[in-house]
Symmetry: C2
Subunit: 382 residues, 2 copies
């Protein structure tokens, strides 16, 4: 059974001092329903991706909160898979339609990160890593810095190559009014920004972001009743790996990305060359390079070379992170996996404005939890 995206919405991403978590869920949920043309009372179920709600707002039981604030008296399921919470919420929603239980489902990803201090948010984010990594004093920039060091040593890449990822994604974000950092950066700025965890500099890291995104999904039967632009989900796959980096034979590859991608391409029945653009999980610049390799678009150790020409930019052979990515559009952690689907819907519906990818028909989204303990890959087509 095919599942269609009927409507989509993303709030502004940024430091939204005047919005609570409930406000973000309210805005994204209601606007996505409005966009879909569906009558709210016809929504049969909801899914919410959120990672940090209990730690940053004291609120658990966010499924019931979502049902209350949106005034939908239907089952709502909150899932939590660190920064892959949004992707997992999407995958569960797709499954609920395929099971025949529901035909019209709302998916929201939402995160409110700026209401607590920097140390508290850093500690809460480390909940996505393993206990041993926390006890070792590691942070997420630290974990991805270890990955970058190993990648540099093995394949000869350098900080210059990381900077190219940031420059591209900031360029895309400069075309996206919803982005947290909608401005271009220069090579000099990238390479002189302050060190966070060598070799990662400030401009290699995604920020701390408030925001939400939502989509309305429908069975093919129900979707057929609407005249709207439709985008179909041809694959929805999740995979796991160890929580800890130190339990893996090679930290320059995310096995969970490879597994999820393998199943996804098989489920969709397409090949890598059929994909027009990708929303990849670039929480740090190194993560995007490795993602493009593990997804199978480039050979291991050669991903970073693709940034030297313009093939990954808007208009290039394989546009990557047209939204600006986590890096420059922002990374409200539980919302990211849903926001990626919103971007794909906007692109494939031809309403992405100045960053429209012309003639694109097939897209892939890639959402990572932690350092790859969870990965979710979706493939969508017009």
């Amino acid at each position: 059974m095919k599942v269609a995206v009927l409507g989509a919405y993303q709030t502004k991403f940024g430091e939204l001092w005047d919005k609570s978590l409930a406000d973000l869920i309210f805005e994204a949920g209601n606007e996505a329903i409005k966009d879909s043309g569906v009558d709210k009372k016809d929504i049969q179920s909801g899914f919410l991706g959120n990672k940090l709600g209990p730690q940053t707002t004291g609120q658990n039981h966010l499924g019931a909160l979502m049902a209350e604030v949106l005034d939908i008296k239907v089952p709502v399921v909150r899932v939590e898979a660190a920064c892959a919470s949004g992707g997992v919420a999407m995958a569960q929603a797709v499954q609920s339609i395929k099971s025949g239980q529901y035909e019209l489902v709302l998916v929201v990803g939402a995160e409110k990160m700026t209401d607590v201090g920097g140390e508290q948010i850093a500690e809460a984010l480390m909940g996505a890593a393993s206990e041993s990594e926390r006890q070792a004093g590691l942070t997420f920039p630290g974990l991805y810095a270890l990955i970058a060091c190993e990648y540099f040593a093995k394949f000869g890449a350098s900080q210059k190559d990381l900077a190219r990822v940031a420059i591209k994604n900031h360029y895309h974000a400069s075309l996206n009014p919803k982005a947290q950092f909608p401005f271009c950066i220069t090579e000099k700025q990238a390479q002189t920004s302050s060190d966070v965890a060598w070799p990662l500099r400030l401009l290699d890291c995604s920020g701390v972001t408030d925001g939400a995104a939502a989509v309305v999904l429908a069975s093919e039967r129900v979707a057929g009743k609407f005249k709207k632009n439709k985008v179909f989900i041809s694959a929805s796959c999740q995979a796991s790996d160890t929580l800890s980096l130190d339990k893996r034979p090679d930290i320059t590859t995310l096995c969970s990305t490879k597994t999820a991608a393998k199943f996804a391409f098989s489920q969709a029945g397409i090949e890598r060359k059929d994909v027009d653009f990708v929303e990849a999980h670039d929480c740090f610049t190194i993560a995007e390079i490795i993602a493009l390799e593990d997804l199978g678009f480039y050979k291991k150790g050669q991903g970073y070379l693709a940034y030297k020409n313009n093939e990954l930019r808007l208009g290039g052979k394989l546009a990557v992170n047209l939204s600006g990515g986590l890096k420059a559009c922002g990374h409200p952690v539980g919302a990211t996996g849903v926001k990626q689907i919103v971007e794909v819907y906007n692109q494939l519906s031809g309403r992405a404005g100045v960053r429209q990818s012309k003639g694109a028909k097939v897209a892939l989204t890639h959402n990572v939890g932690g350092t790859g303990g969870t990965v979710v890959v979706h493939i969508l087509n017009k």
Copy 2:
């Protein structure tokens, strides 16, 4: 498509100072797989119900943790719906099989509550209620005390009636070696235990519990390959209500229980009189009385009268909480919804030992999040 329970396991419930959350997941998951007779490498997916992990252990991303500790390299989804986390995990697992995505799935519910102090756990538990209820200084005993007061005023019940619930459930727990409080209590003990929130006394409240439970679910096709005792899930339904009590027209009824039950009986195609026993959500004694009414077994306002004879005891017309319930078996909040299924599996497989319900064929489980913001009802049969 029918879904079968192929195996089940519950850890000892109690103050398990020597077990971490990971230890509990490890024990329950591995023992349930062993009990099912399934080869671990054939498990295709996992679901984890857990409420408080991030607050009590600092660990998010518990799906990946479960995959790591059980050494199953498959997608694992953590769901959180307050004290209904286990029930929601079950419902999502059932859906994943019905969708055709998986045929063999492991469901674990686990909670580690005793590693933090009493104030911290009370605050974390209040994350299941609304912000306004937290700001009013309410606790969960306080919320259920409000419900009990209103019930007393409307229907003439008294603290004596509440005591009967506790006495029955402690009697059942005295027959359950896995129970946290495996002993009988007298009417005098119940009625002279210290006040917690009037009219609720200490012995009206479930405790703070560590524990885990797990089941292996299979599609009918795969289940057919095993000679084991099988129990089928004939209904799996979730419903929502407002988070706050003050947004409801009547607090002596949980609309979400009524809705979930209505759908469940319709899905299973059976009537109330066909149910032999029930595992109901008795976080407080008043909750069990109201549950039996909202599930449709007794008329509103008359549930408490059923405790005056022995019809709700082992051997009675409708045995309720043969495990001892949340009240006396214990309430590791994210595990409870899965433990209810374990008890039903043990009973319907004829291996419940001295608390065996003879000749039982159909059972119902009822799992509540908060004060009914989320409710999950399952119906199972031999």
